[in-house]
């Protein structure tokens, strides 16, 4: 059932205030688009698509809490306005970006770096891209009349206004195609580096994984030294072919006063295998939203995630898994570790369409609260429109278990080390689903970095 909860009257804003707030926000964002237009790649059809996407965005405005999917992350209240588009990174920014990109580089990976929303070939391993894989920048694809026809697909939108804004404003991104039957050996790592202050950035990437192809994509988000107060809005469109297999690992860090919104729209073919993992480690306001549609029978999806939240940070992970056809399996495990006054939001919706008989879907979400002020919002939802399905969800939240802590301390571990061991084990439940040991280690190192910084 669609979730149509009514809101207590006390929380409703006055209509007048709403109109004013909306008008202000529109003016601000309208200016942003008008000012940026000349710099956005693509003319003709592409420009039309952008203008249409912006109209859609303008009608809705920034996502706010009266939109059901954004009820816990009210961007309109939290960020108020959209900042001006970031300028192209200059030589100095590229130097800083290079340092950060290197810090997050995954072992063996072919690195593709986007700096402030612009592809930086000089920081990327273009020469190491394997045979059977084609990598182009979004700019190139949108400006080339031969490939411009792809624009409709690459700049796809949904009813989500953050995604529409992204389609309108995307300055660059990566368009990656993997040929049918091709098993890509090394992970392909897209690194988003933010170098600016008080600017907004937009990238849009596209991945097409051919039939029976195998690949691992890592996506990292990292702020460079000195980056602050920026707003990053990124999106990935991915098509996974029949019998293909994709591991898609995402690790997001952002400056402590920055906003990071990223969206993934993924369609998966038949008898395919998709392992999705997303972790958010920092950023003032982070939102990851994944929309995964299973369009072919016999496919197996694992979609796991972790939010690591401290200080006054806010991290929202929202995953919608849409079973459109019969005989698919989806497994979701989400874990949040929340310290200080942090807030973690997890929304997990499983939709089982009328045709999707024999669907097998489960979702568990657990939050570990390390302080009294920590907050976890958990909203699992099942929308089951078919018969003969197995679906379940479970959500819990709580503190570390004192009995376990004492057992470990009685064996010689300090209180802090005992806590650390239990937190790692908790996060590990979501990480263990990553099939590649190399990538599992990559993610584990990031979690340890976060844990080490615990006071």
């Amino acid at each position: 059932m669609p979730n149509l909860k009514t809101r207590p009257d006390g929380l409703r804003e006055s209509p007048m205030k709403q109109v004013l707030a909306k008008a202000d926000a529109e003016r601000a964002t309208g200016d942003v688009f008008a000012a940026a237009r000349g710099r956005l790649p693509g003319v003709g059809l592409v420009a039309q698509i952008r203008a249409r996407a912006f109209d859609v965005y303008k009608r809705a405005g920034l996502p706010h809490r009266r939109m059901e999917d954004w009820k816990y992350t009210d961007l309109r209240a939290l960020i108020g306005e959209v900042l001006p588009l970031a300028p192209r990174p200059d030589a100095e920014a590229l130097v800083r970006a290079k340092v950060s990109a290197k810090q997050v580089a995954a072992d063996q990976a072919v690195k593709l770096v986007l700096v402030n929303g612009i592809f930086a070939p000089e920081l990327s391993d273009i020469g190491r891209v394997e045979n059977g894989v084609v990598v182009r920048s979004l700019r190139e694809v949108l400006e080339d009349s031969a490939t411009g026809a792809m624009a409709g697909l690459v700049l796809s939108t949904t009813s989500d206004s953050a995604i529409s804004l992204n389609a309108a404003m995307a300055t660059d991104g990566l368009v990656i195609t993997v040929n049918d039957g091709n098993a890509v050996k090394r992970p392909i790592q897209i690194v988003h580096v933010a170098t600016g202050s008080s600017v907004s950035t937009y990238t849009r990437s596209y991945l097409q994984l051919g039939k029976e192809a195998h690949a691992a994509i890592v996506e990292s988000f990292v702020p460079a030294e000195g980056a602050s107060g920026y707003q990053a809005n990124d999106a990935m469109i991915a098509l996974v072919g029949d019998e293909a297999s994709l591991s898609y690992i995402r690790v997001a860090a952002a400056a402590s006063d920055a906003v990071n919104i990223s969206s993934a729209i993924i369609a998966v073919g038949a008898r395919a295998k998709l392992d999705l993992f997303s972790m958010t480690c920092s950023g003032s306001i982070s939102r990851y939203q994944g929309f995964i549609t299973l369009t072919g029978e016999g496919t197996k999806l694992s979609a796991n995630g972790v939010n690591l939240v401290r200080d006054k940070l806010h991290a929202d992970t929202t995953i919608v898994v849409d079973h459109a056809v019969p005989h698919c399996t989806s497994r979701e495990k989400f874990r949040a570790v929340i310290d200080d006054c942090g807030r973690s939001v997890f929304q997990g919706r499983i939709v089982v369409r009328p045709a999707a008989r024999k669907t097998d879907a489960t979702l568990t979400s657990r939050a570990l609260l390390l302080s009294d002020q920590a907050e976890a919002d958990n909203k699992p939802e099942l929308e089951i429109l078919a018969d003969d399905v197995v679906c379940s969800h479970g959500a819990t939240s709580g503190a570390l278990d004192d009995t376990l802590l004492f057992y470990l301390r009685a064996r010689g571990l300090s209180e802090k080390d005992a806590q650390m061991l239990l937190i790692k084990a908790f996060i590990g439940e979501a990480i263990e689903g990553i099939t590649s040991e190399n990538l599992r280690d990559f993610v584990t190192v990031e979690t340890e970095r976060w844990l080490q910084a615990r006071r």
Partner: protein, 250 residues
């Protein structure tokens, strides 16, 4: 000096007295058994010695080699050689037994200023000890106590004791849930660790365990106090007559 010296210990939970004046001296090399009815405070006593939070110490002292144990963190006590085999060992999913044992052993060694074991050295030791207790290698790869049977959990406690080589071992109902063969294995594991430098306090309800590990002294605990102490024949007497005779003593 006694290895462990408990003087007039009083412990409560939520203003209710649970340990109500315990005196106990345990010398290195001795094995003491504590028997007593359910709820008499045996586990509480062992928890307080090991440093479990949540108890109010309302009076008395606990000295370990003359040092005030009650002021130390549980991990400091472990590093100094206090070991508690839990009546109810907990499951720790996501932490493999091997990793747990290595982290614990090295934390203790580090606290004592000893060199940490290298991975191969450590693994060699664990394999030896596990072998002597009939603990299969694959159990070491599983989460701590996850999916272990009651008897396997108890054997895992003895494995830890053998690995850590503590000088004071508190064994809280190590025999509960063990079948006859497992009881023999566990008892021989305990006997193998008896030494002139090491003391043990064995809490049990059954004489059967004490047939295998013969105590030097048997104490009867009831309603928060040690009501009677004697030789190993006291265990036989208890089995014949029960605890009722001690209820109103002292």
């Amino acid at each position: 000096m006694a290895l462990l010296e408990i003087r007039d210990l009083h412990v409560g939970v939520e203003n209710r007295g649970i340990i109500r004046g315990v005196h106990l001296n345990v010398n290195a090399g001795e094995l003491h058994a504590i028997m007593g009815p359910n709820g008499s405070g045996k586990s509480t006593l062992s928890h307080v010695i090991a440093g479990k939070p949540g108890y109010e110490i309302t009076g008395g002292q606990v000295l370990f080699r003359g040092e005030n144990l009650l002021r130390m963190e549980p991990n400091e006590r472990a590093a100094k050689g206090v070991f508690l085999a839990f009546q109810y060992p907990v499951d720790i999913p996501g932490v493999t037994t091997t990793n747990f044992l290595r982290a614990a052993l090295n934390a203790q060694r580090k606290a004592r200023g000893q060199q940490e074991f290298s991975t191969p050295e450590f693994l060699k030791r664990v394999r030896e000890v596990a072998g002597s207790l009939n603990i299969p290698q694959d159990m070491l790869k599983r989460g701590v106590n996850v999916g272990f049977s009651g008897g396997e959990k108890k054997r895992n406690e003895i494995l830890q004791m053998a690995l850590f080589e503590p000088s004071l071992c508190l064994l809280d109902e190590i025999d509960s849930g063990l079948d006859i063969d497992a009881l023999r294995t566990v008892a021989s594991g305990i006997n193998a660790l008896r030494s002139p430098e090491r003391a043990m306090i064995v809490i049990t309800h059954y004489r059967r365990l004490l047939d295998h590990i013969v105590p030097d002294i048997v104490h009867v605990m009831s309603r928060g106090r040690i009501r009677k102490s004697g030789g190993k024949e006291l265990a036989l007497e208890l089995e014949a007559c029960g605890y009722a005779q001690f209820e109103d003593a002292a």
